[in-house]
Amino acid sequence: MATLAKAAMPEATTDVHRGADLVWRALEHAGADVAFGYPGGACLPLYDALPDHPAVHHVLVRHEQGAAHMADGYARATGRVGVCVATSGPGATNLMTGLACAYMDSVAVVAITGQVSTPLMGRDAFQETDVLGMVGSVTKHSFLVQAVEDIEPTIHRAFAVARAGRPGPVLVDIPKDIQLRTANARSRPEDPGTHGALGADPAELDRAAALLAGAARPVIIAGHGVRLARAHRELLALAERLDAPVVTTLLGIGVISEDHPLAAGMLGMHGSANANRMVNDADVILGVGLRFDDRVTGKISAFAPNARIIHADIDPTQLGKNVPTAVGIVADAGAALFGLAARLERTARPEWRARFERDRPRPRVAEYERRVALPPRLVVRAIREAANEDAYFVADVGQHQMWAAQHLRFTQPDRFLTSGGLGAMGYALPAAIGAQLGRPTSEIWAIAGDGGAQMTIHELGTAVQERTPVKLAIMNNGYLGMVRQWQQLFHDGRISQTPISSPDYVQLASAYGVLGLCVEQRADLGPALARAKAHDGPVVLDIRIEREANVWPIVPPGGANADLIEEPAS
């Protein structure tokens, strides 16, 4: 009997890969477990290689704007870098809104775009756009990969840049022929770009601490930077040491539990009257991790007229940009807050505290809330009560965004996601899907208006395909409500192009295979929310809110925060 010994096959020693494989390999090594994208001609090699890289779960979106918002939502909910992928030309241009949103709100996103092959670049080839030329002002940085050997180091650099300092989006444009060429793979980088916190200058901390120690009416304004630095404990320690109220920006909501006695709510255009008064009357303001944008300051010359401002931010270009600062501290928010707390004694400020308590808004029910079926803030409070305590809420842009900011009441940091700087309608549903992919065991509620919902409602298809059980609550008033409110209040009531029709959302949801519920009566709200929460799949709630409700208070455009208009008696 003859035995055939199988000749030992040599182990494959070659480590040569196509550029497309190197892209996914670099993403794997950078820690990306999810990528949101849409294939196309200039990224065909990427998608050809994708099945060989199962460590990266690819989510097929319905529009590239959705991919960018999903990457953004994923990044905000997890603290990791979100990844989106698109083809050249329209794929890349469709990403732009989502990248601009991430840029304005300092969210770490890496976008990979296919580009036409290098011999075709500059020849107005099919689906060619000058992507680098377009994204310059909406990305932190961008790269054009010109050699296959550069793919891996460029992607690792992109992750490092996106995360470092003030986070932001980075785009890597890769021509198709570069994706098809081959090169040796590089070894996995030991440090894929982690950075330690930026410490503060001790001399600046000393100056700031001296100002705060001598303050009679100190206020802390906490922005998104506190959240990004995960510095809520340091914030609380300093606030308690100073006995100072903490007001937040829209994106800072949740950095201090809204149940805490020193939490004074949101300031600015739709902030609470108390928060705006505290800032107006403060003698020293510590602003941490914010840029003092116009929605926060109102009329800049009238902002905090009695205060000396200490501004701490990780981005040195923000200091002195919008408000004059007495002391500027370039540092990670955690380092700045910790350094200040270490320099200050615990000091009680009973008069200031009493004033704060006296003016704290008391919950009240306006007369019209008894009269109408579904007043918006009642709906928001009902959603809050129906949801888990640690649920994530993703608000779109408009009136409902402000009602959500005012009435959801967050006791945990990082639970409120919204497009603050860019104000991109259509953000909520895709960002909620991204958040759900990053936090698969968490409850995710998207709150949108009927205008914003219709901008990206097609991403219900993605939610179904990915089995993400997001709950989309559409606060449907038949208007582009915030614009209608401004037309009513500031344009002599000339209502122009703001009434908007909607499809039958229940039928639309059904067409996608999604549970759809319509709520028209107050009595139906609780049961509908309970059913949505219990449903193991995506849900669309069409909630017919009071049609012409306004957001109060409001600082008139161009006005000072002290001139805010409170809710008229009804």
Binding site: L132, G133, G136, S137, K140, H141, S142, F143, L144, Q146, V161, D315, P316, T317, L319, G320, K321
Partner: protein, 85 residues
């Protein structure tokens, strides 16, 4: 009356997008651009010289923003006060 003229000198990586990013700061800070020149400086760098009639606060902010660009290696600002009637 004095009109300030500012000259920025930047050492910039010679990579795609770098000049666009520098110009973006010029535009967004409304620097009052008078001249813009980029010369190859060897070792994969450009030397960019920008002359602008910016107000001092904007010039200082622009310098900070130039310096924060990832492919800007060094950024320097020279202020040349010119007497003007």
């Amino acid at each position: 009356m004095t009109e300030a003229q500012h000259t920025f000198e930047l050492s910039v990586d010679a990579v795609p997008g770098a000049i666009e990013r520098v110009l973006s700061v010029v535009r967004r800070r409304r620097l009052g651009l008078q001249s813009f020149r980029a010369d190859a400086a060897g070792e994969g760098r450009w030397t960019v010289r920008i002359t602008a009639g910016a107000v001092p606060k904007e010039a200082a902010l622009a310098l900070s923003q130039f310096a924060s660009l990832i492919d800007v290696r060094t950024a320097r600002l020279n202020e040349d006060d010119r007497g003007a009637s």
